[in-house]
């Protein structure tokens, strides 16, 4: 009978589509185009939430507004004070980093978004945000709220995107303990409670209840040093090879609506790495080709480097002179390495000398 044949054909087709979707990325465009069809459903489904927000905004008493305004002003003042302190710390930090020739931390751009839906699948913890490919969202971008890291974009549709939360059992977040820098992977728990479990942490590690876990940035997905979770329980069981450590996410995963997307730091990071590579190549070429070092007038040497590397042109000559002064020490290599580290950030070293 034709019904059997038809169902068999469609079953085969489904299997083929599933296989293709899980192994290859041909179907991403199909997914994307079908996203145009499903966008209105999400839009309509979000109407009640929007209306309730609108009602909250419109029907509010004058007294409440004044009170809120005063509170916000107070908070702003407080935040500005913190920011002042932070600016000082940031410059100090960059100076220390330049001294140590460490890489420079990268701050991505931020896009605000709203959570408009959550996954209807009880087995996964994902949310839908109201930004998609049309707003420049890409897979892998990190989602934050004001309190901590929330998750990362896993699927981009035209006007919306799916974000996997850090509490999803298939999500691992590279974290480190803020107090002592111990690193671990925080995986979402399998139970009903949205929490994180630290995987493969040896019993001897120094992690105690109340420790703040921040993102370590090692996966190159998440911004570094952003708060992720707070350790809630540490169990050392002698029968287990590793300690059982649980943590509570700091982000308001099930309450907040307003969130932030951070642009992938990866692009900038790549650019910087390439820049650094180019600088290394140029310098090593220079060492081979160039005449013996002591006879070389120092100022010119640096000028050549500057014109060919990624160092911004507005480096003042005094600065490069100071670099050269240091370079005239007994070791010829020493003059190359500080310069490499300072490529993108030339000023701080001078302050330290």
């Amino acid at each position: 009978m034709s019904l059997e044949y038809r169902v068999a054909a469609f079953v085969m087709l489904s299997l083929a589509v599933m296989f293709a979707d899980s192994r290859f990325d041909y179907l991403d465009r199909v997914r994307y185009s079908l996203g145009f069809l499903t966008a209105p459903v999400f839009w309509v489904a979000d109407i009640p939430a929007r209306v309730s927000y609108w009602i909250d905004d419109v029907f509010v008493s004058h007294g409440d507004l004044i009170e809120e305004n005063a509170r916000l002003r107070e908070e702003l003042l407080f935040a500005q004070r913190e920011l002042q302190l932070l600016a000082g710390l940031a410059s100090e930090n960059s100076r220390l980093r330049a001294l140590q020739e460490a890489s420079i931390s990268v701050n991505g751009k931020i896009l605000t978004a709203e959570i408009i839906n959550i996954s209807s699948d009880p087995g996964s913890r994902r949310v839908l945000i109201n930004r998609g490919a049309q707003h420049g969202v890409e897979t892998g971008q990190a989602l934050l709220d004001a309190y901590g890291l929330m998750g990362q974009v896993v699927e981009v549709l035209p006007f919306t995107s799916w974000v996997m939360l850090i509490t999803d059992s298939r999500h691992g977040t590279p974290v480190q303990v803020n107090r002592n820098g111990e690193r671990a992977i925080a995986r979402g728990s399998r139970g009903d409670v949205p929490e994180l479990e630290l995987e493969y942490v040896p019993d001897t590690s120094d992690i105690v209840v109340g420790d703040l876990l921040v993102s370590s940035g090692l996966g190159q997905r998440f911004p570094k040093d952003y708060p992720v979770a707070e350790v809630t329980s540490v169990v050392h069981d002698r029968g287990q090879p590793f300690a059982t450590i649980k943590a509570r996410p700091l982000a308001q995963l099930d309450r907040t609506r307003h969130v932030m997307l951070v642009e992938l730091a990866q692009h900038e990071l790549d650019a910087q790495l390439q820049g650094a590579d180019a600088a290394v190549w140029l310098e090593s070429d220079f060492e081979f080709i160039g005449p013996p070092r002591p006879k070389m007038p120092p100022a010119e040497e640096v000028m050549v480097l500057e014109s060919d590397t990624v160092v911004p042109p507005d480096v003042d000559p005094e600065d490069s002179a100071s670099v050269d002064d240091r370079g005239q020490g007994p070791l010829p290599q020493a003059e190359v390495s500080p310069d490499r580290g300072q490529g993108p950030l030339p000023q701080p070293a001078q302050g330290q000398e």
Partner: protein
Amino acid sequence: MEQRTNGSWVIFLSFFVAYLLAIVPFPDWAMNYRPQWVAMVLIYWAMALPYRVGIGFAWVAGLLMDILEGSLLGLNALALAIIAYITLSLHQRLRMFSSVQQSALVLALIGLHLMMTHWMKIAAEQAVSSDLLFLLGALSSAFVWPWMFVLLRQMRRGFSVR
């Protein structure tokens, strides 16, 4: 067999509403009780208008569901195609059933649907195996079915959908 089709918009509207109900956020504790609206609407139309809503229709409806859920493409499509097949092969008898009998069959069909999607998700590593509480969705679907059946039948007759 020269029936003209009529009232397609009623079918599409009912599916649209089913999709809406399928993605409206539920509180965490109620996640498992969510009725499978799309599968139920599909069962109704496959029973009432088997020459219009067939396996192909079910497959496309499932594909849209996959996009809405963000799950693997083809997963719901496969499950819904099989549900449609069973309904189509039983549709003559299904029409004669009392509402309790229909509910029992819906319970079985939705249970099968939930099991199939759960297995496929595990096989595709989109979910981890958990307890069988998600099958409560079949129970709530069977509970809702008689009311939905009456509502959709009224709509079908009122707008003379053929």
